[in-house]
């Protein structure tokens, strides 16, 4: 993406889909056309999606260029730098001797990363890497074994919450679990950013029948995502009873896929369709279901960002989407086969980890707590029975070495990739995965020693250049 101030529009041949915005820097005098115009130079045949690069949709500063626009030699990938040798993620790889192995999430037609999305940090990391990789840790193997044993049991028996300090790999582990269960043939419902259900970014309408606030747009989106990822499994399941709502009727025998696609097209019936879908899934015992929720603590905050007509904060259990998550997480509703997995976000000041969760999961809280601290009985009820699955707060040297090698092969290092750099970054980050990758590998300013060209005729002009290998 290039920014230019010139008046002349670009005539260079551009890769398809590239948008070049010429910013207006000078305000034109009133009554005249501005000398600089915002020009959208598009090739023929590109999508008309003007919102792709709008401010709202821009996430972070990392937007990778297409390979054909990488003309500068520094940006050219060296011949042996590709991550093509990284194996694809497979459920069979969850074994003891694969601990420390980096695996890549390949692009499948029902890719959960594409359709469900990921938390923001993970999204940026996947954009930086050539392939979307993660490392198999011992906790991954443990979680896979737990999920295997949960495949035959009702979900209220396997309700885990992944906990740990900031940056220890909870979201990554949750994503690995989602991929594992999907590959094993489960139905997967993954909500990567549960705080979007409670931070008042989607519409909410009061429903008299259920006496809760419905979130129709969010329900519509969720149905679409569930359908895209689990279409094969949903085709095999059918409605047991017919559904009539809002002049729409679905007879018994309609596949859940048809139901979901109908709900995903129409926001009016989406909430009811989602509810029906969940009820059906709670009744069938053919296919295990995984409900994976990141930002789990957001729905346990007593006050959401939504306001009712009296301007008091709406409780999470009065909103449709958080309510169904809470019900499944507490075991009040349960899939006959399946599991519930939640991952906390340790450092979110808007939605901190509340006392109810801290008490139930036996976590070390940040602030001093006493029996007289405020706790909500309802939320305590919803938190009952959750089990703590602590994620180790540091990489083992082997895991860290694999991660380091992956980034090294992807040309992410500014310094020569040797064991001294690895050990230095590992020591500095104390093994913390996020600090190791973001502040250690990507954030370091250490580079190779400059090489002075002695052949320069004038010693005053002799300068050291850093040769990038």
């Amino acid at each position: 993406m290039a920014l230019s101030l010139s008046r002349v529009p670009f005539h260079r041949s551009l890769p398809q889909g590239t948008l070049i915005c010429v910013r207006t820097y000078a305000n034109s005098p009133p009554g005249q056309q501005s000398p600089f115009r915002i020009q959208n130079v598009k090739n023929t045949g590109t999508s008309k999606n003007k919102k792709a690069f709008s401010r709202k949709n821009r996430i972070g500063a990392f937007r990778s260029m297409t390979p054909s626009s990488l003309t500068v030699p520094v940006l050219q990938p060296s011949p042996n730098s590709s991550l093509s040798s990284v194996p694809s993620f497979k459920p069979e790889l969850m074994t003891e001797n694969m601990i420390g192995q980096v695996v890549a999430f390949s692009q499948t037609p029902n890719d959960p990363i594409k359709y469900f999305g990921t938390p923001k940090n993970m999204l940026l990391e996947f954009r930086l890497l050539s392939k979307r990789c993660s490392v198999i840790r011992n906790i991954t193997v443990f979680t896979a074994e737990e999920l295997d044993s949960a495949a035959a049991e009702p979900s209220h028996k396997t309700r885990y919450v992944l906990t740990g300090p900031s940056g220890c790999g909870k979201s990554f582990l949750l994503l690995q679990s989602v991929q594992y269960c999907l590959a094993k043939g489960w139905i997967v419902i993954y909500i990567p950013r549960a705080k979007t259900t409670v931070n008042s970014t989607t519409t909410h309408t009061y429903d008299l029948r259920t006496q809760t606030y419905l979130q129709p747009n969010y329900a519509q989106q969720t149905l679409r995502r569930i359908l895209e990822v689990n279409s094969a499994n949903l085709e095999t399941l059918t409605l047991r009873e017919g559904l009539n709502y809002d002049r729409r009727s679905f007879s018994s025998g309609t596949t859940l896929a048809q139901l979901a696609s109908a709900g995903s097209k129409d926001a009016v019936i989406s909430s009811v369709v989602l509810e029906t879908l969940l009820n059906e899934l709670s009744r069938q015992s053919k296919i295990p279901v995984l409900l994976a929720v990141d930002d789990f603590q957001a729905i346990y905050n007593q006050k959401t960002a939504y306001r009712d007509p009296h301007f008091s904060a709406i409780r999470p259990y009065h909103l449709a989407i958080p309510r169904f998550i809470l019900e499944f997480a507490s075991g009040k509703r349960s899939f006959p086969k399946g599991a519930i997995l939640g991952a906390l976000t340790a450092m979110d000041p808007a939605f901190p980890v509340t006392n109810e969760l801290i008490d139930e999961l036996n976590l070390p809280g940040l602030h001093p707590r006493s029996p007289y601290s405020k706790r909500s009985k309802i939320l305590q009820e919803y938190a009952r029975g959750l089990m703590n699955l602590p994620v180790p707060e540091e990489f083992s040297p082997r895991e860290a070495a694999s991660v380091f090698e992956t980034w090294m092969r992807d040309n992410a290092l500014s310094a020569p990739g040797n064991d001294e750099l690895f050990l230095a970054k590992y020591t500095e980050s104390a093994g913390n995965p996020k600090a190791f990758v973001w502040q250690g590998i990507l954030g370091t300013l250490e580079g190779a020693a400059p090489v002075v060209n002695q052949n320069t005729p004038w010693p005053q002009l002799r300068e050291g250049r850093i040769v990038v290998q």
Binding site: P165, L423, T427, E428, S429, G431, N432, T444
Partner: protein
């Protein structure tokens, strides 16, 4: 070879001369009472009793040295020192002795072809730092007030002698060196050893568990650092051996094991990543380990107080560098070159009057 003259008037016998010099006040000859002149001046004849009494008086006034008799001899009494009439005989005696010693030594060294010495040879001489007596101590020795000019004169001569001592020692002439040394040692301060040992680092002792305890400081922060070597993991027999692999039966090639020990750095009982969120502080702390090449060899526990992030991280790095030097003195050269063993002397500059801050001036107004 008789290098120096016999030390009859030398400083070694000074106490004797001193006694001789000071116990008798100087009496001008005109005021001396002689028995002969008494009679010659026409004094009335004394009777025998008076004569006996006078003789007895004269005998009482007999001095220890039989050579000198101010009353009986016609000659004037020779003062003991040639520099008697300077009023500072002891001082000038010593100056003359030193100058004589210097000239004699110079002659000797020239005969031995050690003088004049080429430039490169001067640099190769054995360093012999000297600490002379203070002016106050020399005052008591020379019985004169050692002003700055007198002190400088003496020390200039002593320094020259010291140079000849260095030449003689380095060249291996032990007898020459010994003689020069005997003169020099008289003027050397008793606190020489202590003075030369000032500022020398005390070697840090490791305790019973092999831990080093060092201090580090930067700006207003102080860090106490304990370092202990990491125990390598005990390898159990057969843990690394896979029977299938050994027989070549496994089809999956096993990844090579990562056999490294890692350093754990705890600062105020928190991991380094938690205590210092900024990467620059962390890199500053790990830098001494990196430069010495001992990453993964030592575990570090620190208690740091005072200052802010930069000061605390600098103090910890200083303490770690000293700890590494305590465990491995061979790394001293490279740590010194990287200026890690040096306590960074930079402190916050004070605010001055008439200025807004240490250097910032108030806005200049033309009128």
């Amino acid at each position: 070879m008789n290098v120096l003259r016999s030390q009859a008037f030398s400083v070694l016998r000074r106490p004797l001369c001193r006694r001789l010099a000071t116990t008798r006040p100087f009496v001008p000859p005109a005021q001396l009472v002689f028995h002969d002149t008494l009679f010659a001046a026409g004094a009335k004849e004394l009777d025998d009793n008076t004569v006996d009494a006078l003789e007895a008086e004269t005998n009482e006034r007999e001095f220890e040295d039989d050579d000198f008799d101010a009353n009986n001899s016609q000659d004037k009494a020779h003062p003991d020192s040639l520099n008697f009439y300077t009023g500072r005989s002891s001082y000038y005696d010593n100056i003359v002795e030193l100058q004589n010693a210097i000239s004699r030594t110079r002659g000797t060294l020239q005969r031995l072809h050690l003088l004049p010495l080429p430039e490169f040879a001067w640099k190769s001489l054995k360093p012999m730092p000297t600490v002379w007596k203070t002016p106050e101590e020399m005052t008591t020795d020379f019985e004169t007030a050692m002003t700055i000019s007198r002190y400088r004169k003496v020390t200039a001569l002593l320094n020259e002698l010291n140079e000849y001592l260095r030449i003689a020692t380095t060249a291996g002439y032990a007898d020459v060196a010994e003689r020069i040394g005997s003169i020099i040692s008289i003027f050397e301060s008793g606190k020489k050893e202590a003075f030369l040992a000032r500022g020398v680092r005390k070697p840090v002792q490791l305790d019973q568990y092999g831990r080093s305890y060092t201090f580090g400081k930067r700006k207003t922060s102080a860090a106490r650092v304990w370092m202990i070597p990491v125990k390598p993991p005990s390898r159990q027999l057969g843990s690394d051996v896979n029977v299938e692999e050994a027989f070549g039966l496994s089809d999956k090639p096993r990844r090579p094991p990562v056999n490294v020990t890692v350093s754990t750095i705890l600062i105020n009982n928190l991991p380094i990543a938690e205590y210092f969120p900024q990467p620059v502080d962390r890199e500053r702390i790990v830098r001494p380990l990196k430069i010495a090449g001992v990453l993964g060899k030592y575990n570090v526990f620190t208690i740091v107080r005072g200052g802010g992030t930069t000061g605390q991280s600098g103090a910890v790095a200083h303490g770690i560098a000293k700890g590494i030097f305590a465990h491995e003195p061979e790394t001293g050269a490279i740590l010194k070159r990287a200026k890690l063993l040096r306590r960074d002397p930079r402190m916050v500059e004070r605010k001055k009057t008439g200025l807004a801050k240490a250097r910032k001036r108030y806005t200049w107004v033309k009128r």
